[in-house]
Subunit: 431 residues, 2 copies
């Protein structure tokens, strides 16, 4: 006789609907692979009247999430409501009750992960969150388990599908940011208020989670230097293409001297790099580890079914542990590391300057660069007359020096504005 | 106080050396992440006199692998000797003794997997084999655990680094197969007897293991239709490039109507497909699953440290289970499925014919195709006079019909030979 493990789900929106659909359709194989039947017994929703077409009895639904957490017929709590509040307190309550939790909530884990992991550890139960980073892509488990014997040196991720979709269309159509964004909004690929995506904040939350895992320490979302794609323009994309690069919004986490650096910003990536071929709304996480070398994990970063599948994978994992009354590997945050400020970053830079007279201004621009120890690798003029622009690619320089250079250059009369400053991850390697 | 888990290793060649090096260098982090110290207490080698520079006491080494398996101070057996015999009987013995086993042995798992999994199940201990497929790439665990809630529909893998290295150089240098193979042998990228690699047999073993996992059934290495890259020539590569494809040696496993099809052969892949950008000796596994959609796992398929890291990852997993006196998810082979023969494959084909007079022969060739219900999508002539060649791309056709067509075409007087027949995986989707 198969045992039954009962699930209580908090929220039943896009991801929750995916979870319920997968559990129903794949029930037989899931039972065989888990060694127990997984039964969705309770679901907390906002609106009881909406028909979700999930084939669950109406008694399963309630508007009280506390009730789901506390219910006797709930063995595992699945949190797919999102947001920090009340999701955080509900998860804490579940853990206190000794119930393992599966969550898809990146915002919560990126801000309150260490406290939640400590609560799970104290309660001796699992807290799984595969779906919180890069949707369907198995990355949390591989980092925590498969790479447990290795030393991760760097993680570079394309962690937000909306921005990758926009940048891909800008690249392939030569279109401008505003036009593509408007179209993406009309098509439902971008939200009406796109700030969380285009501002890099969604990617920053995921980068913080990945950095914590990679380096056995606690990195908070606020520790991540974050710059969005709002200022990337068609000229930037064209120049990048001409030089053999594509522009991607990347999250980069690295470690040196027990200091962790985590940043999210648009960057030039060489076209030959595996990340450069990640198109449209796909996500990917590229990992460099001491023994393993380079790894890349690629797949869908969002969507009801992909994210739902990641949640169900976690549920099966947690259920298998429940059956053996054990728990999976808990978060290893045994190393205290400080955060390296962005000013200490050393990489190459691309700058686009609007100037009045390209020829006359070059000497003054070059002098400003030299005064701040930023060496110019390439420079040329785009356009001419009233719409003249100077393109500069630097050698590797310190971010603090580059910023001082930008300030000096901005002060030159015949420089109208510094239109773009983007990092060039030429070797996709810096420290 | 930390517990100690003691490892006995069978073999200490390339992979074994990597394992020992990683265990030594990463000892502190491994202890923190595992919750126990992992100690390599015994190593079975062929030659006791060789200095391996691993910092292990000389008493740790023995020439008797049976002794390592049976030793009281060995909790986990790590098999990195390779080959089916005596590795298979040593692993069986370890399992009988209730000792979990980690192996990197693809040949053994592809041929005797079901029996070994049954022995592990009977003994109630873990048998882990992440390193057996695609070296450092975490693919076994993600398939078994992360995708446990989903239905895998297709797996397409670049599973052999040597052949991918050869095909990449042929593509990027326009060089011929024989020249690149000779160079690869001189550089140590290919063995003196390269048959296992270039004949597709190594990839076939890995494809069988992946198919078993993906479809919850037992697929044997001998069930895999296998064709190597020996006959791929520079013209094939050039034609593929012109049409927007690259030629890769792929392992493709798919399922329809409870029948599993597994094949390894060179194929045209669209340049825009993520697998097309896997260059040099890298491996990648592309997975299509019902809910998850498309996933790709990319990384190093071989080498002391990458493969060693995969073995150590498994060892940590098994050690964590030992500490909680449980075991990980065992192989689910609960579905009996038959193997679909290659004759029933339906895909597109590319053919290269050496002909005496391209113009005169076309009508007769076209007639032969028509008689066997194989429809021609594109045809053109390469070269002329004595070295004239006809290139044909078919629409989707059945393999059996294509083979009959090739037989008829070969019989036409003015067709000197059918120089190439390769499958075109245009949508990288067929069934």
């Amino acid at each position: 006789m198969d045992r039954v493990i009962r699930l209580g789900m908090l929220g039943c929106g896009t991801v929750g609907g995916g979870v319920a659909t997968i559990l129903a359709r794949e029930a037989d194989d899931i039972t065989a692979r888990t060694g127990a039947k997984l039964e969705l017994t309770r679901v907390a929703v906002r609106d009881l009247d909406r028909d979700r077409g999930l084939g669950l009895p109406s008694e399963a639904f309630t508007t009280d999430p506390e009730e789901v957490v506390a219910a006797d017929d709930v063995d595992i709590v699945v949190e797919v409501m999102g947001g920090r509040d009340p999701a955080g307190s509900l998860i804490r309550r579940a853990l206190e009750l000794g119930k393992p939790v599966v969550t898809a909530n990146k915002e919560l884990v990126a801000h309150e992960g260490p406290e939640l992991f400590a609560a799970a550890r104290a309660a001796g139960v699992d807290l799984a969150y595969e779906a919180a980073v890069a949707g369907a892509i198995p990355i949390i488990k591989p980092m925590k388990e498969s790479l447990a014997g290795d030393r991760v040196e760097r993680v570079v991720g394309i962690l937000n599908g909306t921005t990758n979709y926009i940048l891909t269309r800008m690249t392939e159509e030569g279109a401008d940011y505003e036009a593509v964004l408007a179209d993406a909004q009309a098509l439902g690929y971008a939200e009406a208020d796109p700030t969380a995506d285009v501002g890099g904040h969604d990617a920053a939350a995921k980068a913080a989670i990945l950095a914590s895992l990679a380096f056995d320490t606690a990195v908070h979302a606020d520790d991540v230097f974050t710059q969005g794609i709002e200022s990337v323009n068609a000229t930037d994309i064209r120049v990048a293409d001409r030089l053999g690069y594509v522009i991607k919004l990347v999250g980069i986490a690295s470690e040196a001297d027990d200091r962790v650096a985590v940043r999210v910003h648009p960057a030039f990536l060489p076209k030959t790099h595996p990340l450069a071929s990640v198109r449209g709304s796909f996500n990917a996480v590229y990992v460099e580890a001491w023994a393993t070398g380079e790894l890349m994990f690629y797949g869908r970063g969002a969507g009801a079914m992909p994210t739902g599948a990641a949640v169900v994978g976690d549920v099966i994992d947690v259920a298998r542990n429940l059956l053996q009354t054990v728990r999976g590997p808990t978060e290893s945050q045994h190393r205290a590391k400080s955060i390296r400020p962005i000013e200490e970053l050393s990489t190459q830079y691309y700058l686009l300057l609007d100037v009045e007279d390209a020829a006359g201004v070059l000497a003054r621009v070059a002098t400003a660069f030299g005064e701040h120890d930023v060496s110019i690798a390439q420079v040329w003029q785009e356009g001419g007359g009233d719409s003249a622009q100077l393109v500069l690619i630097t050698h590797r320089a310190r971010e603090a020096d580059l910023r001082a250079t930008v300030e000096s250059v901005t002060a030159i009369d015949s420089v109208r504005s510094v239109a773009s400053v983007l990092r060039v991850e030429a070797e996709v390697f810096d420290s």
